[in-house]
Symmetry: C2
Subunit: 455 residues, 2 copies
Amino acid sequence: MISVQVKSVFFRFFGMMAELRPSGFPEYSPAEQLVFDQIVGIIQAQYQQFGYTHIHTPAVEKNDVLLAKNGEETGKQIFGLYGMAQGAEDLKEYGLHFDLTVPFARYTLDWEHQLTFPFKRYQIQPVWRGERAQKGRFREFFQCDIDAIWKGEKEYFYYDAEIIAVLGKTLTEVLAAVNIQDSVCFHINNKKIIRAFLQEIAGDKAQDLGNLIDKYAKIGQEKFLASLQEDFGFDTEKQQKILKFIQLSSNKIEDLDQLLFFSQNEDFLAGIAELRSVLNLIQDFQKSLGLVFHWVFDMQIIRGLDYYTGTIFEAVFENEPQLGSICGGGRYQNLTGYIDPKRNEYCGVGGSIGISRILSRVFSVQETRKQTVADYLILQFEGEMADSLVLGARFFAEGKCFEVYPYAEKLGKQFAYADKKGIPFVVIYGEGEREKGIYKLKNMQSGEEQEVPLH
Amino acid sequence: MISVQVKSVFFRFFGMMAELRPSGFPEYSPAEQLVFDQIVGIIQAQYQQFGYTHIHTPAVEKNDVLLAKNGEETGKQIFGLYGMAQGAEDLKEYGLHFDLTVPFARYTLDWEHQLTFPFKRYQIQPVWRGERAQKGRFREFFQCDIDAIWKGEKEYFYYDAEIIAVLGKTLTEVLAAVNIQDSVCFHINNKKIIRAFLQEIAGDKAQDLGNLIDKYAKIGQEKFLASLQEDFGFDTEKQQKILKFIQLSSNKIEDLDQLLFFSQNEDFLAGIAELRSVLNLIQDFQKSLGLVFHWVFDMQIIRGLDYYTGTIFEAVFENEPQLGSICGGGRYQNLTGYIDPKRNEYCGVGGSIGISRILSRVFSVQETRKQTVADYLILQFEGEMADSLVLGARFFAEGKCFEVYPYAEKLGKQFAYADKKGIPFVVIYGEGEREKGIYKLKNMQSGEEQEVPLH
């Protein structure tokens, strides 16, 4: 039998020209959707177990909210809306959200009198980017965000650790559920360390140097050093200092001491202290709850220079880091001030799992999959619909998922239906079985038949 | 303590002018969202138990797909998209889906080689209408669709009954879960009966008469008869015949015989036979599975004249029918032909639950609600973070949802947090408890404290 995976590739290729779906908007076959739902179910359950509560925001926000921060840059990504109808002129002020952070900030302001702080929320929704569709860059994709926010700048390093612990636990559970033999590694850093180091070494060019370090893994050491010389005019000593700095990475907290050789700047030292506190708490979490994900502190983790203010992190598959980050986040001092400068009191820490990279890994290794959640197909015999239902009632009462074949079609066709859908058991209750007071349960994989007494 | 409900109304009123959310796009407080999720969870579980599989389609479809049927009429409802970015010119050919049937039809064509027919799918997503926002008319709302489709026109009345049985079971479960003391009544009809009757009695004006009957409940008998006379020129005898016909409604299958006095038209009789088969099967379902929802056949059920071809149905709350239909659907002979006239072989039967009307009923009676799924809050004492986590591990291992307060704040503040969020139990593990080798479990509702030994 041709595997679902191969079929999928075949028909996707063949069907490509005729596809009616808009470009850049992925969707899944029923079998793939089951895996997607399984993963989302795990993410939800894990987020909830740690007391994070679900919020859901509309797909649409006002453009002045969406564009409040980095308007020009962000505007390039936004899907604007217009009403084909007359009389809906306000629509042109609306657009689809491009992330879940801006809607979360807007939600916080709209509902602040009903929220209890610290407020722990998760949000799993698609986001949209109105850009040209490219390979691997989608116009619609799901984000699974988790954040804890509070009023005023408080330390609450507990949450930095909790967010990473929850995400680590969640990703570990996901990998186990979909049979990926790999583990997740969090690369953790602190923005204060990075910002102070960049500032001290590059002054006005701090941001440019940050961007270059961000590209280090992609361009490699040689090009990196060349750029430090040519674009920044750094001498060999400075080049080596930067190189050594960004190569600092370890899973031992005491190795943080090596950072002390690079700067004595106050913010730099404060960043190290914060990072130490957070890593210690993560260890507490791991020990207490038996969490097995890995972490290193890593000076190459930079992330959006203008948003995060403390802890920053990214997670990758340990055996397949080249797939890129599957999770990231950090701590921020100002969630809502961009939308309304008078209301800049909300700070927090959060992260997000990008489910499509995980799915692409799953679909590259899994071969055949069930197309339905049903575990039983009750065959249909001429004139015995009511009997089938009485039998179905047994499975129903036990909370099992079942299907009844809708028509007394040839048995071969009914078996083929169960086979194609990957339904594991077929229930046979024809005239012979009724006379014997039994029904037969056929295991579709092994072919074994079992007689089950009716009473 | 002011109830959440009253707060909600208060702050909604007060916050109205300042609201940042776009008009016509509802969203929920965390407490309301929990109820929403509970209901969606029940709907999913029920749909799945009967073997319906989940599909999810993008928010966006091509305009020529969206407008394939009733383009002019539909176009008035659609949110069109444009890219604020340059270089994404194809975006203007795209719009947001306004229902889940058109995307389902498109999905069927795009994936037909991977689907197994009969194909049983459910789909729970928001839909968007680009119209002027009005009271009770939203621009974004959720639909919970369920359909079984197959190739070619087959009878498969099993599915007409199964869809109604699943929807009836689902709504019954939903009402029980949210403590609404009411039941659901399905009003069932057959399009062949209606179409033949209207045609025979009104000829060219069949559609107009159908529209008038659709309004009967709203306008009342007097206006209805006046319109029959003035707009259709029907004599008293014809008026009385129509009136008697649309007043036919019963929960006894044998009462279908009364229809035989109204016409001997072949299609009319075929419709009665179909309706009889379906009602018999629904009774089989109810008996076998112990389903308690109610139904009547009802000649006032008309539904979209141009789409449904056999069974049609609508469900209302039995004690609050004026809230309008909370569920509806029917059988159709042509799912996909509108999109591609050469591919008109898919027929089926389906229905949809409108969750916002159910929620409006729930929120009008429920007063206070939990803001989180967490059942336990572990208090935080100075310097004992690791201890709190070790304690958390116990709840964690049992799969319970818990929160740890992030900071050793005053105990009053920590209790207030649990109280506001509606967390039922607080876990106290301070110095005194540690010395005694216990922790205390405080019931936040009764105030009772229980000592639990650590070992």
